[in-house]
């Protein structure tokens, strides 16, 4: 019986195994291998160049280090602000407020609006001459700001958009808040704990698996940011260094400028950078992650 079950299990795992092998692992190996060649798809055959793509990337590429810097800056800012914002909104929406369903929808909708509409609309709001934010600044006698074309403001401005569109995090936090056992809160209330103490000592510890999940997903998603670059700094446009996110650099190198092998090099380093951040998150999480069942 056990052997039959094992056979069935293996059978059912075949599609997943094939999918992972052919869609994930083999392309990953191919990308790594390609990073040691010079190849555009229109070259007759790849030319082995050893480590020269990596040397070029680390020593000569005028975009690479800027790209790493702005990607990390954007991801850290967006993730931190997004977590605080979405947890705060989820806490508010978990209470019995009037029209709660409506407000939940209002905060979720930005997440499902097509990205092109989101970024185009925000560009109008951010417009240095005719946008609403600058109208407000001007009405207070403050100088205008070119939010999307001034190195000091580009990343914070993009992070605001990312935070605004983090409705998915709110929904997951809401689900997590619904699972915090009420008995803990009731017991703490009887013992005279304040709302803040209950939040810090009960809600947050019980929510750590959810916080960890949102943190991880949000970090990976924000490290892979590319849409604002495509919309605000796409081909043929002035490209402020703050828009050269790693995904954009990889896309532009491979699919606009046709250098697939060098794009593979960027991809592999990019993969390593994300892997490093994820590893740090996993390692540090051991000290603060709390599972109610006691499992880690």
């Amino acid at each position: 019986m056990a052997r039959q079950e094992a056979r069935a299990a293996k059978l059912f795992l075949i599609p997943a195994f094939l999918g992972l092998t052919f869609i994930t692992y083999l392309p990953l190996i191919a990308v790594f291998a390609l990073s040691f060649f010079k190849w555009t798809a229109i070259m007759p055959r790849p030319l082995f160049v050893g480590l020269s793509n990596y040397i070029r990337l680390f020593t000569k590429d005028i975009f690479f280090w800027t790209s790493v810097k702005v990607t990390v800056q954007y991801a850290v800012l967006s993730v931190c602000a997004g977590m605080v914002y979405s947890l705060s909104i989820a806490l508010l929406l978990s209470r019995k407020v009037p029209a709660r369903g409506f407000f939940r929808a209002v905060f979720y909708v930005p997440y499902i609006i097509p990205a092109i509409a989101v970024y185009t609309s925000w560009a109008l709001l951010y417009n240095p001459d005719f946008g609403v934010f600058n109208a407000l600044l001007a009405s207070q006698g403050l100088p205008r700001i070119t939010f999307l074309a001034d190195s000091r403001y580009i990343i914070p401005s993009l992070a605001v958009i990312a935070v605004w569109a983090s409705g998915n995090l709110i929904v997951i936090f809401l689900a997590g808040l619904g699972n915090v056992p009420r008995v803990y809160h009731e017991a703490a209330e009887i013992d005279g704990a304040s709302a803040w103490q209950r939040f810090c000592r009960i809600t947050v510890p019980c929510m750590t698996p959810i916080i960890f999940y949102n943190l991880l997903m949000s970090l990976i998603a924000n490290m892979q940011v590319v849409v604002p670059s495509l919309i605000y700094a796409g081909s043929n446009r002035t490209t402020y260094p703050e828009y050269t996110f790693m995904s954009f650099l990889m896309y532009r190198t491979g699919f606009i400028n046709n250098d697939l092998s060098y794009a593979s090099t960027i991809s592999f380093i990019f993969f390593a950078v994300i892997g490093l951040f994820t590893l740090v998150l996993f390692v540090t999480s051991k000290s603060w992650l709390f599972y109610e069942g006691g499992d880690r």
Partner: protein, 445 residues
């Protein structure tokens, strides 16, 4: 009827039907099938398929199949097809990718596409690699000054000249732009009370497409490359021109910071009174301004560009190529030659999106009238002087007609220049500091 006879009759009928079908198939197979890749939406595909039907009605040797690819992924998709040895026979190609493909031997030499006695496209529209043409632009486009006629009339200021003979020099242009720039209190940029922090209407805006900046270095007697394709952007003429563009915003306050007006288009900016003039390519007539004229009553005019030292504009246009991998190069070129004739793409010319490529439309008055007499165009005399004659006499090809890797170069240059637009660096300084990186980009690194 006996059962055997019935079966025999059935077999005979079946044989007859099969032989007829085979005959029809053989007739269809007489035509050589070639493929043509293009970017465009379903409406453009429909128009193209009608054009192809016309082509197929006129001859019985070639059948053309359309390969539609999204514009954003176009060159990438062709790369993938090349890797799979599955390129189309012919196709439109992004201007900045043509020479890269030619260098890899992927494009056919089209030197012999036109006979000696045939009407050819303008010489400035040929993409050349190693001295041989590898494609001709399927349309012509030049950079121009569009303006809001009413705004100039209301201000009592002379509008941009249509004739290159009367083109404004740079100082005159800046002076006019100052007169046309208004703050929220109605003061123009020449007024001592002008408030540069509260501008209601700019004198001029520039299309944010980065490659168009090259024209200003050209009007200043400079260039981004020499005739051999070597980088010359570090010459004083080239850098001074770019600094002057930055100064329009930083010093004179007559234009928004370069590259920031990406959320709106020329029609919106002219209709909403955000600017009095707008530097953009001729395609604006067909893509935006004709509609704005019809639906919003925009009374727009067109003039030549201002100049610094030389009266010049740039021309460009999407290029049709025959891929070297085609098994049917003769048929591929026959189709491209037919398709390049103005009467076969008249819808796009009539709408104002394309300008004709054949020189006869620029020199034969009757053909020029056929092209320009159009209610969505500015008046004939104005358009003829500012567009037709200007394109004939003052247009120089954009550098991607003869220089490879302009995409890499422009990516690097646009990033290097970014701090200059906000006044945090000077053009000459950043170019000097990064000239090695620019030269490397020019070499494909």
């Amino acid at each position: 009827m006996k059962k055997g006879t019935k079966l025999l009759s059935l077999a005979l009928v079946l044989a007859m039907v099969l032989s007829m079908a085979a005959g029809l198939a053989a007739q269809a197979e007489d035509r050589v099938t070639i493929t043509y890749s293009m970017w465009g939406d379903s409406e453009e595909v429909r128009v193209l398929e009608e054009t192809i039907k016309k082509f197929e009605d006129e001859q019985d040797k070639i059948h053309v199949e359309v390969v539609q690819i999204d514009r954003a992924d176009y060159v990438g998709a062709l790369n993938t097809r090349a890797a799979g040895n599955n390129l189309p026979d012919t196709g439109i190609m992004a201007e900045d990718a043509v020479l890269m493909w030619a260098e890899q031997g992927m494009l056919a030499d089209v030197s012999n596409m036109y006979g000696a006695d045939e009407a050819k496209p303008l010489d400035s529209l040929a993409f050349t690699f190693n001295g041989s043409p590898v494609g001709y632009s399927v349309s012509n486009e030049v950079l121009l000054t569009f303006y809001d006629r009413k705004a100039f009339a209301d201000a009592g200021v002379a509008s941009p000249p249509a004739s290159a003979d009367q083109a404004w020099d740079w100082d005159t242009f800046v002076d006019v732009a100052k007169q046309m720039t208004l703050d929220v209190n109605g003061n123009n940029a020449k007024s001592p009370d002008f408030d540069p922090n509260n501008i209601k209407r700019y004198g001029v805006m520039f299309c944010p497409d980065f490659w168009q900046l090259e024209v200003w270095s050209v009007t200043n007697g400079g260039a981004w490359y020499d005739a051999e394709g070597n980088v010359t952007i570090n010459t004083p003429e080239a850098t001074e021109a770019l600094q002057r563009i930055a100064d329009l915003s930083l010093v004179h306050h007559v234009a928004p910071q370069y590259g920031t007006n990406t959320a709106t288009t020329i029609d919106q900016d002219l209709v909403n009174g955000n600017t009095a003039m707008y530097i953009q390519g001729q395609w604006a007539v067909g893509v935006w301004l004709g509609n704005a004229h019809q639906s919003d009553g925009l009374d727009y005019g067109v003039g030549v560009l201002p100049y610094m030292q030389d009266k010049a504009t740039l021309n460009t246009g999407g290029v049709n190529v025959a891929f070297a991998t085609s098994q049917h190069p003769t048929e591929a070129m026959e189709w491209l030659k037919w398709y390049a004739k103005e009467e076969n793409s008249w819808g796009l010319i009539e709408s104002g999106i394309w300008m004709p490529v054949l020189s006869s439309y620029y020199t034969d008055e009757a053909l020029t009238h056929k092209w320009v007499d159009n209610p969505n165009f500015p008046p004939y005399d104005e358009y003829k002087a500012a567009v037709v004659d200007y394109a004939m006499n003052n247009a120089q090809p954009t550098s991607w007609y003869w220089v490879n890797n302009t995409n890499l170069f422009n990516d690097a240059l646009s990033t290097i220049l970014a701090p200059c637009w906000s006044g945090n660096a000077k053009v000459a300084d950043v170019i000097a500091q990064n000239i090695d990186a620019l030269k490397a980009a020019n070499q494909g690194n």
